[in-house]
Symmetry: C2
Subunit: 599 residues, 2 copies
């Protein structure tokens, strides 16, 4: 007799139920039946990859065989011969698709859709995404946007829910997310747990807010972020259930955390680079406790073909065996984050695959996702899937602002100055005599002493705070950005109040971005209309805009490698020593506000 | 201000809500707060284990330190000094509690409660249980009994739901479990997926019944059971999502299954022993793909202190490094079966711990479960937890039965005879002339040709089938059992119809068990009133009864090592060659019934 589910399925082409889609169970059963037949070699598959050198992360061996794919899944490994499409790999290596274990998509300034088109050709077919930045700007709506725009994406994005929004009580963010706010998302299938718990002092102090979030995630994972934490405090932090760390700086720190049960994410990002320091402790025996992550990768690095593929290559250059390196980018991530049937080449696994010609440089030739060839020779191929229209409100909501808000009346006292350290995000503080003109403290490019301001842009509070910074080296003009961690208020630094005012007003008009102003004119603008963080354009355009932007900033006289990255961390009051938020100057060591003028 | 949850919690000792238990969240938060304080060393813990050699399955190293425990969990490793109870281990090794990856509790003839008291002292603090036997007898009620009686147990039992009830269509079981029947249990927290899918021909033939069960478990695990399956058929079987196998006989078979993504459970049971053959393929690099299981362990082996502890010791004797052996019995099982926070000694992990004096013989000194000392020197210590009363209907429900049902009228033809092979569960078939007395075919001890019968005991169908068997060697009397895989009908073999009738009637009266009858008298009876499978008594009593039983059987003349185990497999029509069910003789190769008399 015809089983009930099958009879029901036949109905869909005729009869009154014709308009009904088949139920999920029916589709699943039909797929399963076909998979069994293809696996047994009884019927032809969809795609046959011939003459592969299969990198088998289970047996830790290279296997020479064919791979048959059907219904988006790998179905068999062996001497299969027939399929609708046959590709001869001619002995090339076949790897599982890479999975980035921790990434803030916003750092690429790309939407999830464009991010996929950027990293897919680099072999990344899945990523664990922490939408921390957009959550600080648009809260619940921001997270929802990221989840929704990942649904029909070219790669698979899984989410960890931001745990620290706002980052501190000393800044105005666009949202405050309590446990009940993120609880809405926690049950969702694509959500894998709680994002990096940066507020480790809060955990140790047993703050109810943060413990409630950890409790919420207790059936999923909680990511950690605890640089330098050690000994008994580390025990306490880990005992709450936090199970990863990507902030290790030294082998000793990583080995202690590993011994306490944490999985170690070795980060190689655009800013923070820990791979060279840590990779020496990975062995074939312990490698299942390690993964790779990028955390933050900027568009120029992506355009330069550097993502998880770079981490693998670099690890092998540093002496790690290639099999362990591949495991760190694939099965280890899938198993820790509970992503079923990804990260390996085996029957029943999703056909996310990467073809490389050798097992040393990992130069990527082809990338398949769910059995579809999505990229070849670093070029994205897959047909457009109908990008989800961005349905988000504008995020730049500034109260009345003009240059008068930037005026600092002299009080005849010394001032605190933020001092940059080249290519670092930590700063120092100096106490200096101000440069005063007509009774106001002003920028003085001759002393490399520039005015810096943070303008609240979420709630139209009108908050503006002003300070002074040394190290940018601008000789004229101003630069400004709506990307400024973690609250992403507008941050601006400049030589003249006129140019600073203009920079801020242009960013308000463009609803976000990064800008260079000189003599009242816009020299370069990188628009970031989505939350003030992400572009609507693709990687090539964004990378080009970024190059133009940085060239324009250099033309103002700065010698910093990444002036906008440096700028974006000056409002982050968790990195020592002196920072500035929309509410004032913050001494991070004291974890409190300090006045500009020193008594 | 006092957080809401804490204020609520305070209410429980006074005011109108005093009778309400605190909500789970409140308890969780209080525990978490205390755990943080104990971890940080700010307040004293519950239990301190001093001077441990900690076997760290994450770092693969032995760590000399103290372990502090609070709220049933390991909270810290380090130089802790204070706790309510302090035990000095004087340099003994501290291991995570063992987890049996696959076991049928019914084979111990003990209830889950008594099973815990038997294996707890052997270091087993958790087990993955497949209640396949009781499910064949009492279906849904049987599974529910096992789940319920595990709730307040001394060790943690997790469940895989039986996938093949009944085992075949050629026998009468006490229940038929379809996907919708086991679906009721699948969402439960303690249920970890689908039990061993023995019906691999059914999977390959795409039988809807079995595929529906696999579909049901697709967000959990499905265990495999596919002896000898290889090549494309193995691909197809694995592609459905089945992820383990415990039936490998050779290293080659195990390595092929491992390469296809299966985790390999190395079985060392009372009957099937595969450890010596397989252990050589385990290495520190691949050991995370392996686990230990017992499958079936009989009471006499448990009384002899052999369970997972034996597997570890034997593996090390065979040359495996002890760290890998411990991982196979601990973290590997917890991670595969998604048992959070078990299988390791690290902050936040449940305090399930085993103390041994050396890292070679693994002689067990102490066992802790959830921070409680439950056993010492193989003696169970924990206080009784109030055993759940067994609330199950009687399972022996036989239609009218007397010796007339055993009569076989001669038809003047040859008969098929089941031939035992010593100490194996496979049989052969011979065609022979019957011994006829007064027109009936009878047992003939001189030819070692004995009558065997299977009496249906679930539905009172009145089914009785009679055949003949060579190899038991009984000279007089009869033996019978309500344990006969997989349907567990009554099986009886004997020299005289009188004694066979008496044996069956006694088992009906006792509602199940194993019995030896001679000259109309009961020589030994092991009562198994729970489903006809399990005793109400503890291990020492059951092991003693078993010894008495086997001695009584030997007194009838049998020379078999385990006559009752041999008997229990003669009704299992999936093991070649000739078997007998309540519906008749089965030729397992043809997978069909065959008549007693040969045409």
């Amino acid at each position: 007799t015809t089983p009930a589910w099958r009879a029901q399925n036949r109905d869909r082409t005729s009869g009154p139920q014709a308009a009904q889609p088949p139920c999920r169970e029916s589709v699943y059963m039909e797929n399963l039946e076909r998979i069994i037949d293809v696996g047994r070699g009884l019927v032809r598959g969809d795609l046959l990859l011939k003459n592969c050198r299969i990198v088998n992360v289970f047996s830790s061996k290279i296997e020479e065989a064919n791979v048959i794919i059907a219904n988006k899944k790998i179905v068999g490994i062996g001497d299969y011969e027939e399929a609708d499409t046959i590709i001869d790999l001619e002995g090339a290596y076949l790897l599982p698709g890479f999975i980035d274990a921790h990434v803030h998509v916003e750092s690429s300034m790309l939407t999830p859709f464009e991010f996929a088109r950027a990293v897919g050709p680099l072999g990344v077919t899945s990523a664990i995404v922490d939408p921390h930045e957009i959550a600080n700007v648009l809260g619940h709506d921001g997270i929802k946007f990221m989840l929704e725009s990942s649904k029909n994406n070219h790669i698979s994005l899984y989410f960890m829910l931001p745990s620290c929004v706002p980052a501190t009580h000393m800044e105005t963010s666009g949202a405050t997310l309590l446990a009940e706010d993120i609880g809405y998302f926690m049950e969702k299938k694509w959500v894998k747990g709680l994002g990096e718990v940066m507020n480790y002092p809060g955990v140790l102090a047993k703050e109810t807010q943060i413990l409630e979030k950890i409790q919420l995630a207790k059936m999923k994972n909680s990511d950690g972020h605890a640089p330098g934490l050690s000994g008994k405090d580390l025990n306490a932090y880990v005992a709450t259930g936090i199970s990863t760390d990507h902030e290790c700086l030294t082998p000793e720190e990583a080995m202690e955390k590993l011994a306490r049960g944490m999985r170690i994410l070795i980060r190689e990002g655009s800013g923070a680079k820990n791979l060279d320091a840590l990779i020496g402790i990975v062995t074939p025996q312990n490698c299942n406790r390690f993964m790779f992550c990028t955390d933050d990768r900027h568009p120029e690095d992506l355009a330069n073909h550097e993502h998880i593929n770079y981490s693998i290559r670099r690890a092998v250059e540093m002496g790690l065996d290639p099999m362990s390196a591949v495991k760190m980018a694939t099965i280890n991530v899938a198993e820790h984050y509970n992503i079923p049937r990804k990260g390996a080449i085996a029957p029943g696994y999703w056909a996310d695959l990467v073809v490389v010609n050798d097992f040393k440089h990992f130069d990527i030739k082809k990338v398949f996702r769910s059995g579809e060839l999505i990229a070849e020779n670093y070029t994205f191929l897959a047909r457009a899937k109908g990008e989800d229209p961005v349905n988000l409100r504008g995020s730049v909501n500034v109260g009345y602002f003009d240059r008068s808000k930037l005026t600092v009346a002299d009080r005849g006292k010394s001032i605190r100055v933020i001092n940059l350290i080249a290519d670092q995000i930590v700063t120092t503080e100096s106490i200096e005599a101000p440069t005063v003109v007509h009774g106001n403290v002003v920028s003085d490019p001759a002393r490399d002493l520039l005015k810096i301001a943070v303008i609240e842009r979420h709630m139209a509070t009108g908050n503006v705070s002003v300070g002074f910074v040394r190290g940018f080296g601008l000789k004229h003009g101003a630069i400004a950005s709506t990307v400024s961690h973690d609250s992403h208020n507008i941050i601006v630094v400049g030589v003249s109040d006129d140019d600073m005012e203009r920079a801020v007003q242009e960013l308000i008009l463009s609803q976000g971005g990064k800008i260079v102003i000189d003599g009242g004119e816009t020299k370069a603008l990188l628009p970031l209309p989505i939350g003030g963080l992400m572009s609507r354009l693709g990687l090539p355009e964004v990378a080009a805009q970024k190059r133009t932007l940085e060239a324009a900033a250099r033309a103002l006289g700065t010698t910093l490698t990444s002036p906008f990255m440096t700028l974006s961390f000056l409002a982050l009051p968790v990195i020592p020593h002196l920072k500035i938020t929309d509410q004032g100057l913050v001494d991070v060591i004291k974890f409190d506000f300090v006045p500009l003028f020193v008594e």
